[in-house]
């Protein structure tokens, strides 16, 4: 990688000041995407601001009818948290299958969603569970947060501080992993909450999306059969050496069906 200036921020304020002062700063959370990208010389920040030292960004707590998870909370912590396992077991299970154990020991919730990889798992959790992203500046609804391929609503140097997940009645996430990278070829989060049913799909398109027709059908009856006949259009879905858009569209239905079965199971 190219050289850079490394700074370890001790507070949010410290981090944003350092970022503002730098020529071309990049925040680093877990570094699980950023470091490999820099190793391949595809990113060249002048300053790398490590958020790993900001204690207030980590932690999991119950906040009324929601779980609040700090942005720097590692996937392994979410996966093994008793709080998460009892309140939203689907979220713990999703976190338990991100990457590999070593990625889960380093990778963070905030880093993952800020990167907005089209094949990442967390975007499906945020949108499917109707979460809210808190930053050092504002709150952003998950539906508005992911805006495209590796694109989010975050502004320059804005820092995610926490994600608030409302506790659903039922939820499950099922993914079809890429045999090489093990990222999601298709991952579907199905969630039934007080305000309705949500179906969020990651991996299939350039960014996480909801399937309106499935949500409507499941609102009537939360059963696998309800989504069986619903196919998302192939147009706009990803095609790559691992899966065509046609196959991904098919998998969305299969994974949704399985997620519903798991949610009611």
């Amino acid at each position: 990688m190219y050289n850079f200036k490394y700074q370890r921020a001790s507070s949010l304020d410290d981090a944003s000041k350092a970022a503002a002062a730098a020529e071309d700063a990049e925040y680093m959370a877990g570094g699980m995407t950023l470091i490999p990208t820099m190793k391949q010389r595809l990113a060249q920040p002048s300053d790398l601001i490590d958020l790993g030292g900001i204690a207030s960004l980590s932690g999991i707590r119950r906040d009324g009818d929601a779980l609040a998870i700090g942005a720097m909370t590692r996937h392994a912590e979410v996966a093994s948290s008793e709080e998460v396992k009892s309140a939203i077991p689907a979220l713990a299970a999703l976190a338990a299958h991100i990457g590999d154990p070593q990625v889960r020991n380093r990778g963070t919730l905030g880093g993952s969603i800020a990167n907005a990889d089209p094949a990442a798992d967390y975007p499906a959790a945020l949108v499917g569970l109707n979460a809210t992203v808190k930053t050092d500046r504002r709150e952003i609804a998950a539906d508005e947060f992911f805006t495209g391929l590796f694109e989010t609503a975050l502004e320059e140097h804005e820092i995610i501080t926490e994600v608030r997940f409302p506790i659903p009645e039922k939820a499950a996430y099922v993914k079809f992993p890429n045999p090489a990278s093990r990222y999601a070829v298709v991952g579907v989060m199905v969630c039934q909450a007080k305000d309705g049913v949500r179906v969020a799909v990651t991996g299939a398109g350039p960014s996480v999306f909801r399937v309106d027709a499935m949500e409507k059908a499941l609102a009537t009856k939360l059963s696998p059969q309800a989504v069986e006949g619903i196919k998302v259009p192939e147009d706009g879905l990803n095609t790559d050496i691992h899966a065509s858009a046609e196959y991904r569209a098919h998998l969305v239905t299969v994974m949704a069906k399985r997620a519903v079965a798991a949610a009611i199971g």
Binding site: Y2, Q40, P179, A180, I241, H242, A243, S244, Y247, V254
Partner: protein, 784 residues
């Protein structure tokens, strides 16, 4: 059997150092004043170029920048191919130049054209970005069949039509005659997918020059350091052989990819002399993907003719093999003598004809990879046989059984040059049927069906030819080298033993197996024996490790040296014990006068040999140090049957391997633990090929699409079931140990077994490897 002798599952000697982080792999070595090399590589599959290095030369830390022109100026030759194939037309194959660094044309993505040498690796890599290359991209071709098209871009001006050779074996008219009288003909179009070797240790090298002695030492990740020395001396003409030492230390896996002589290590050796400083290069994984010689990549049309009873009458095979952009060291023999000569399989097929067109494309060179030709042959034979059984509505194991070469028919002359020496094919098949509980299959299939899954079973009755030999025969077929192996057994005065072997261990556990052999035969305690390999300055001239030859050929050389030690020891003992030589018996490490208790152990004999105070000096030299070369009389022919069961999820096309059994015949076995491990690893490689792995290039641009572990599907632990391994023994009749070799069997057997099981499960006649979920799902949809 002793606890450490032949047949014992001895724990490995080498493991302590590997388990404690004390292995000495190439990149672990650093020499004083070492510099670092980084290669500038083509991002294009095909382009002409000019290069400017001035900026790079002035970049921080840069010591030198060399281009292809510098190599030409230095008078170095290019890389060579060590096996000349003579085509149907009687002409030798086309062998276009393979420069160490491209001079004006690059022919595959990753083709090196310059090297930057700097004080640190990071500086070399930084400076490489400032090398100014002006590329004129040209049209590229990556598919072997497309390369034969009249309009295809040409890879080399001196290989018209991209053809390296058009070769044949077998009796064409006899085969046609068999097809004319056939009751049934089964036909298949088969693709043997291109694989990337991916030993977990990337290739690496350090060149080191001693100005005082004018000797170059090349540390390199090689399976055969003497072959590397020979090529770099005699063909590249870097320096005479006696001035070049090649050291291959602990190597992190080879699988064939570290047989070959590559540009990078050769350039590192040369640059070290130019700069009078050690030059180190270690591949990044992305470089490994682009430059380690790939494997397989065949397109084949195959037909099997059967009579009414299912007896195989004839087989016709036509293959196009992709050799990549340049001829790698042994590329040409893989799709010919290591492939077509195995078309007999385990069967009595009466006539066989096989033709092979080998072509150049704008891709990474292709050469031997675990199995090398034999997996491709087994895939052709065993896919055809399984498909024929389905078309003839016969049981796949029964059809095989009626066609097996009987156990009493050896030696058996095949229709494709080889003479099989021994085997019991029906025995292995029966073993496999029992292990997989074939009788219970239909019940299990019903069970799976009730759970919404499709179950299938598949067999692969494979045969391989290992320990390629004898030298005189391979020489007549175009090989540029001999195929013997060397060994030396050196007793030290205190009675412990150093064994020098020409075989190279890069995972096979030779330090253990060979020590078992010596301990068993000479009665020296296992712990008092060390095995040395991988250094041309220490071991006799040797051919190295590939083609499952180490025990059959290298072990046999050790065995010959053991015999010489015993013969000399007998003389020394006779003298000391004051007996006639013919009255001395050797057993369990003791030389004893027949029928008496007068005895001396081999340690005492060694001491007497090195401290020859009471010694037959007029007829014997002092010392106990014997060497031997062994040139086998024939190949060895490991064979067996693998069987597997799969469950396919019809909703997604995902294949779950639920059971795998391997019934192999490797002849005698020295260390069953190591042999089982070799089978597991081979099977995993074969499953990888059938299910996950497949190198892909963009057909138009020639870009490598599977250039990292993110896109190239490597088998992981959760892919595999428990693998059940069983063996039977028909000893090899022509080597002193009766051994056959086991390193490649799994990789040879597995792809056909798995694809046979998958096609059985989904009711399709064919599916292209790797059988990815989407392909399986599509095949299911097509089958309705």
């Amino acid at each position: 059997m002793s606890a450490t002798g032949i047949g014992a599952a001895v724990r490995r000697k080498e493991d302590y150092r590997f388990l404690t982080g004390n292995g000495r792999y190439l990149d672990d070595i650093s020499l004083p004043n070492q510099s670092y090399a980084y290669f500038v590589r083509s991002p294009h599959a095909h382009a002409t170029f000019t290069v400017g290095i001035e900026k790079a030369e002035n970049a921080p830390g840069v010591i030198a920048v060399f281009t292809g022109a510098d190599i030409v100026k230095a008078g170095l030759g290019g890389l060579i191919c060590g096996w000349v194939i003579t085509g149907k037309n009687g002409e030798p194959h086309k062998a276009p130049p393979h420069p160490l660094l491209a001079v004006d044309t690059v022919r595959h993505v990753g083709d090196p054209l310059a090297v930057v040498i700097a004080e640190s690796y990071a500086q070399a890599k930084d400076a490489a970005e400032t090398v100014e290359v002006d590329y004129q991209p040209k049209a590229a071709v990556t598919s072997p069949t497309a390369a034969l098209d009249n309009s295809a871009p040409q890879v080399h001006a001196d290989a018209p039509g991209n053809l390296c050779y058009d070769w044949e074996i077998g009796d064409k008219s006899a085969t046609d005659a068999m097809f004319n009288k056939a009751h049934h003909v089964t036909k298949l179009e088969l693709i043997n997918n291109r694989l990337i070797p991916n030993a977990i240790e990337p290739r690496s090298a350090i060149g080191d020059y001693n100005s005082g002695t004018d000797e170059i030492t090349l540390y390199t990740t090689s399976q055969n350091p003497h072959v590397a020395r020979l090529v770099i001396s005699a063909f590249v003409q870097l320096t005479p052989e006696h001035k070049l030492r090649v050291v291959a230390p602990d190597i992190g896996g080879g699988f064939g990819s570290k047989i070959f002589i590559y540009s990078e290590e050769t350039v590192a050796a040369w640059a070290a002399r130019e700069l009078k400083r050690p030059v180190k290069w270690t591949a990044e994984r992305s470089e490994s993907f682009m430059t380690d010689a790939h494997g397989r990549d065949h397109v084949t049309h195959a037909e099997l003719a059967l009579d009414k009873s299912g007896k195989f009458l004839g087989m016709k095979v036509s293959t196009v093999a992709n050799l990549g952009a340049y001829l790698s060291t042994f590329a040409t023999c893989v799709p010919t003598y290591l492939y077509a000569t195995l078309m007999q399989g385990q069967y009595t097929t009466e006539a066989i004809y096989c033709e092979v067109k080998a072509v150049f494309t704008h891709t990474t060179p292709v050469d031997a990879l675990r199995g090398a030709g034999r997996p491709e042959a087994t895939y052709v034979v065993e896919r055809l046989v399984e498909q024929a059984a389905r078309e003839m509505k016969m049981d796949a194991s029964d059809l095989r059984k009626i066609n097996f070469i009987p156990a009493d028919a050896f030696p058996y002359q095949t229709q494709v040059a080889l003479q099989y020496d021994s085997g019991n094919y029906a025995g292995s098949m029966d073993q496999a049927l029992k292990l997989i509980d074939y009788k219970g299959f239909s019940k299990r299939k019903e069970q799976s069906k009730a759970e919404g899954k499709l179950r299938g079973v598949g067999f692969s009755a494979y045969i391989e030819a290992c320990g390629i030999a004898p030298s005189a025969v391979v020489g007549s077929l175009g090989a540029g080298v001999g195929l013997y192996e060397s060994a030396e057994i050196r007793f030290n005065p205190t009675g412990n033993v150093t064994v020098f072997t020409g075989s190279h261990s890069h995972g096979q556990g030779h330090e253990t197996t060979f020590a078992q052999l010596v301990s068993d035969k000479l009665g020296v305690p296992f712990d008092n024996i060390d095995v040395v390999h991988g250094d041309t300055a220490r071991i006799p001239f040797a051919m190295g490790t590939y083609g499952s030859r180490s025990l059959a050929v290298g072990g046999s050389a050790i065995s010959k040296a053991i015999d010489k030690v015993i013969a000399k020891g007998r003389k020394i003992a006779a003298h000391t014990l004051e007996a006639a030589e013919e009255d001395i018996e050797f057993k369990d490490g003791n030389f004893t006068v027949k029928g008496t208790d007068r005895t001396m152990d081999i340690g005492a004999v060694a001491f007497a040999a090195y401290v020859p105070h009471n010694y037959p000096s007029d007829e014997l030299e002092p010392g106990l140090d014997e060497s031997a070369f062994y040139d086998p009389a024939n190949f060895t022919f490991p064979a067996g049957t693998h069987a597997c069961e799969v469950e396919v999820d019809p909703d997604t096309g995902v294949v779950d391997i639920v059971k795998w059994v391997a019934a192999d015949d490797f002849g005698n076995i020295v260390n069953p633990m190591i042999v089982e491990g070799q089978v597991h690893g081979g099977v995993a490689h074969g499953i990888g090929q059938a299910l996950l792995e497949g190198c892909q290039y963009a057909p138009d641009s020639g870009q490598l699409l599977t250039g990292s572990f993110m896109d190239y599907g490597m088998p992981r632990a959760d892919v595999f079931p428990d693998i059940e391994v069983a063996t039977q023994v028909t000893p090899c009749p022509h080597n002193p140990l009766g051994v056959k070799g086991c390193g490649e069997a799994g990789a040879i057997a597995a792809p056909a077994a798995l694809v046979n099981a998958i096609t059985d499960a989904i009711g399709a006649s064919n599916i292209t490897m790797p059988a990815t979920p989407e392909k399986v799902w599509r095949a299911l949809n097509a089958a309705g």
